[in-house]
Subunit: 217 residues, 2 copies
DNA sequence: ATTTAAATTTAGACACCTCTAAAAATTTAT
DNA sequence: ATAAATTTTTAGAGGTGTCTAAATTTAAAT
């Protein structure tokens, strides 16, 4: 597998509900910042390698083999992210770019030993689950803050948007994974929320609430 | 810099006495297991980028910029090797292949933080010196076991040949960096050596002695 | 149902890195 | 000093992954 092939597989996995749903050529092109014609070329190649199901004009999905491959790459990406944060003191908004490179390193032993060093983490720094060696993982029972009833109480366990901008915003406002959050009130006018986080009271926009996962306790 | 370019720079550095001496096209091709014509092409490109000095039929050497670049790559390679051995329990004969991949990861922050995590090591698992951030390093005062007078006593500090075969041989015979070695006797007939290593007496061939560095105490 | 718009694919091209085969330059040997 | 052998370079080509422009198919609109 070339680096480029791996990136396509990963993108199809993410866009197509873990590879199960058909993804359009244009969607892939946009996500990868390339041209649709390039996507068509690559998809043909991946199809020949039995990594994707492809019929002209019908979009692509991953085969079982493709899903397994994607899970391997995602496992590597997320383990490296944990490593960068836990061992090298990177902040959670700095890890993505480097992990994009590290995820392509080929060595089963390396990734297994890294897993051991990190003590078999189940989640990456953004709260996304890390597949185990066999590709199995489960997303803990989490919900978007915006979709939870008033008075709910829980722990902040993840972010949906893991862009640098959003993560830096959370840092600035002292919102971090592990924080205890209670929904105090929902402002119907602009769909914003008043929450209690730790001991503070905060007012957060709907956009923020729509990108924070909490696990109801 | 592409990965391929980096590999050429590294090879020219190693073959040409740290980049200072002219290296022949054929030598590079053989070392890199490619064809001389491919080397010529690449060397032209590196020349345009001011990384090497090149005149047709005259061989290549590194420019100052090329040397600096090579030292950066070597620093990364050797730091990763230390990481693999110290943190991930790789043995010293397993690290090279993986480090060959890791050395191409682009992130200054990553390598500086790795350096910190490892506590600024001066030598890699084979006893080779690790350049610092500015590219400066010095090889401690070491000598080949084969070139040291009888009765000399010192510490084993490195290997010249770091092939898997040689390293596994040393493991099998319980010879490791840090061991105290005394030359007991030189066998003139086959140029082999009788040595004391730790508390054991061993008989080692000239080929072994010619690939072990010791620091006389 | 036919036209219009959008999405997708094809065709042809280019940069990168490699190769083989042949030509040119250099070195070695007589 | 010239011929032979070796080294190095050039010329032409192939595979990968990308692009633009044009053609084709599908979806949307009237």
């Amino acid at each position: 597998m070339t680096r480029s092939e791996e990136n396509y597989i990963k993108t199809i996995f993410h866009l197509g509900n873990k590879g199960t749903e058909e993804v359009s050529t244009n969607a892939i092109a946009e996500e990868m910042e390339t041209k649709p014609s390039s996507v068509t070329d690559m998809v043909k190649k991946l199809s020949e390698k039995e990594l994707v199901n492809y019929k002209k004009y019908q979009g692509v999905s991953l085969t079982d083999f493709g899903i397994k491959t994607a899970l391997g790459i995602i496992r590597k990406h997320r383990l490296w992210e944990v490593f960068l944060v836990e061992k090298l003191d990177f902040s959670w908004d700095e890890v993505h770019e480097v992990a994009e490179q590290l995820e392509h390193i080929k060595s089963d032993k390396l990734i297994d030993k890294l897993d051991t060093l990190l003590n078999y983490p189940k989640y990456d720094p953004h709260g996304d689950p890390i597949p185990d060696k066999n590709g199995t993982f489960k997303q803990g029972n989490r919900k978007l803050l915006s979709e939870v009833p008033v008075e709910s109480k829980g722990i902040c366990v993840g972010v949906k948007d893991s862009s640098t901008a959003f993560l830096k915003f959370l840092d600035k406002n002292q919102i971090a994974l592990g924080d205890e959050i209670t929904i105090l009130e929902k402002e119907e006018f602009d769909s914003s929320f008043y929450i209690k986080i730790g001991d503070r009271r905060e007012h957060i926009s709907n956009q923020i609430a729509s990108n924070l996962y909490i696990k109801i306790s």
